[in-house]
């Protein structure tokens, strides 16, 4: 799904010049540390999923990035500048951080017209983005009568109004029907393929699994991991052995991280297939299977976030997987 360009809008800055950088950001409310020395980058040209349990600090981080909240320390920049320093903020960053940030008595079209007025965007663009998010039929209805999915679409339309090279979206898939999720996925992937920066928080792991190129995982305000989703999922090996417990001891002794899965099966990280084979041979343990293992994102997520994932409802994750 191609995004229509504004014909009479000033030339946008180079789309590839807007990486997002979070540098040692800490945010405290009194003694409550919500974000704790968080650092990561979001690369243009890729969709980056931002994951964490409820209360992990995702929304706070996004609000700091967008200048809506001040960090206690550290800085968040877009293309090297804080949001408030951008010459053309809405022309650079399209954001949706509140799924229901609409006056319930105002129509969807008028909501976007207000944004168009404020950003000097031609009013025709309002109809373009309404069509883009498939909300044209309901554009004149009051936003208060919209379903959650329709509100998400309206929020996305607002983010796309100025055709910005950076998108920052907080839980954009919430409430969308399967068709809407597919439309959203195609839209975001197309924008990333065009060299734009796409940063999306979500706790719908199945959706992120299909959408994101990279992921950033935080828990209790701290970075857990960051990198290519494909590499992370494939960085493990599956071993079946006659004596799995003995093998576990041997592998852990060699520096591996070992998880027990099905009876007799171990998932091993931080050791190559060769190293696992050698350790098994030295321990005199017969192997029944040794292969590369691809985890689901859900498995990895729970491994990364441990017990603290109680904030992520299982229904949310299993529903999507």
């Amino acid at each position: 799904m191609a995004v229509k360009k504004l014909s009479d809008q000033e030339t946008l800055p180079n789309a590839r010049s807007h990486p997002i950088s979070i540098e040692h950001v800490t945010k405290s409310y009194g003694s409550d540390v919500v974000v704790d020395d968080l650092s990561f980058t979001v690369t243009p040209g890729r969709v980056t999923g931002f994951l964490g349990p409820n209360g992990a600090g995702k929304s706070t981080t996004m609000k700091i990035l967008l200048g809506l909240a001040s960090p206690t320390s550290g800085q968040a920049t877009i293309g090297g500048l804080a949001y408030g320093e951008l010459a053309n903020p809405t022309g650079t960053v399209g954001a949706s951080v509140e799924s229901d940030a609409f006056h319930p008595g105002r129509s969807g079209r008028n909501h976007l017209r207000i944004l168009a007025d404020a950003t000097d965007t031609p009013l025709e663009r309002v109809d373009e983005v309404l069509e883009l998010v498939e909300l044209s039929a309901a554009a004149n209805r009051h936003a208060g009568a919209y379903s959650l999915g329709m509100k998400q679409r309206l929020g996305l339309a607002a983010a796309l109004l100025c055709d910005p090279p950076v998108l920052v979206l907080d839980e954009p898939g919430n409430g969308l029907d399967p068709q809407g999720i597919r439309t959203l996925r195609n839209l975001l992937r197309t924008r990333a393929a065009d060299g734009n920066t796409v940063f999306v928080s979500s706790h719908l792991l199945g959706e992120v699994e299909q959408l994101a190129d990279d992921i950033v995982v935080i828990n209790q305000g701290r970075l857990v991991t960051q990198g290519s989703l494909a590499e992370m999922r494939q960085s493990a090996s599956l071993v079946r052995a006659a004596s799995p417990e003995a093998l576990r001891v041997a592998l852990e002794g060699a520096g591996g991280v070992v998880e027990s899965r099905q009876p007799g099966a171990l998932v091993v990280r931080d050791l190559s297939l060769d190293e696992i084979g050698e350790q098994a041979f030295r321990a005199g343990i017969a192997l029944h299977e040794l292969s590369r293992h691809t985890d689901s994102l859900e498995d990895r997520f729970f491994a990364w976030t441990g017990d603290a994932t109680s904030g992520v409802t299982e229904s949310n994750t299993k529903e999507e997987l």
Binding site: G84, L115, T119
Partner: protein
């Protein structure tokens, strides 16, 4: 130019919901009650001396005091609902320099409040005129005095709206902002007068009467300045609060 665009957007916010219509209905109801009172009401002795002079009629149609309070509620609701509905997030995304955004809000509610004040005074004057047709008295207020009544209500409406907007920006909750505005304009002034008699001259209702030409306890210039101070102090407090706080 950017700031003017923000003001334009804020004005569209005010006009794209039914809130102004609600206030207009309030004015029409008050106007209807005024017309009925003029047409059928009497003094204690059964006479209609309360409409027998130009000054009496001007006093009846002077709406600046009410405009100050009603436009105050308008401003409070207009700004506080931005926080309640979360639309302030978009406001600050579009205009990250918050003082600019807040000043644009204040400018728009000043315009909106002024228009409300003017319309309210117009409805009030029209109601008095309509009520007089059912009496033996004619419309005696001069064009100049009528213009002063309209101008006073326009000024009071704008100032009240800015005051309410300041309260709304500070409180960020519609119910709280409405309560705060009523406290500030309706409940606290009489209490202040009870405690310090000299303050009576400077309460909004008296100042509104002065600018409407139906009282002269202070000079016109002093009254206008005092009305401005009533509006600007809460507005400044709201501005500082918004600038310092996170949007949560």
């Amino acid at each position: 130019m950017n700031w003017l665009r923000t003001v334009r957007a804020e004005l569209r916010k005010l006009t794209s919901t039914k809130m102004p219509l609600g206030f207009l209905i309030v004015f029409v109801v008050i106007g209807a009650a005024t017309a009925i009172a003029v047409a059928f009401g009497t003094d204690m002795d059964g006479s209609k001396t309360f409409i027998s002079t130009a000054a009496d009629q001007q006093s009846l149609m002077a709406f600046a005091g009410n405009a100050f309070v009603i436009a105050g509620l308008f401003g409070a609701i207009a700004v506080a609902r931005e926080y309640g509905h979360g639309t302030v997030v978009l406001t600050f995304l579009i205009t990250p320099r918050r003082p600019q955004a807040v000043l644009a809000q204040y400018a728009s509610v000043f315009v909106g409040g002024s228009v409300l004040g003017l319309v309210a005074a117009g409805v009030s004057a029209g109601s008095v005129a309509a009520g007089l047709t059912a009496t033996d008295f004619g419309f005696m207020v001069s064009a100049a005095d009528l213009a002063q009544v309209l101008a006073a209500s326009t000024l009071a409406g704008g100032a009240g709206a800015v005051l309410g907007a300041g309260v709304g920006a500070f409180v960020r909750n519609t119910g709280g902002a409405v309560t705060g505005t009523i406290l500030l304009l309706v409940i606290l002034p009489p209490l202040a007068v009870q405690m310090v008699n000299e303050t009576a001259t400077w309460v909004p209702s008296i100042l509104a009467n002065v600018v409407s030409g139906i009282d002269n306890v202070v000079g016109m210039g002093a009254a206008i300045v005092a009305i401005g101070i009533w509006a600007l102090v809460p507005a400044a407090i709201g501005l500082v609060a918004v600038t310092r706080r996170d949007v949560v």
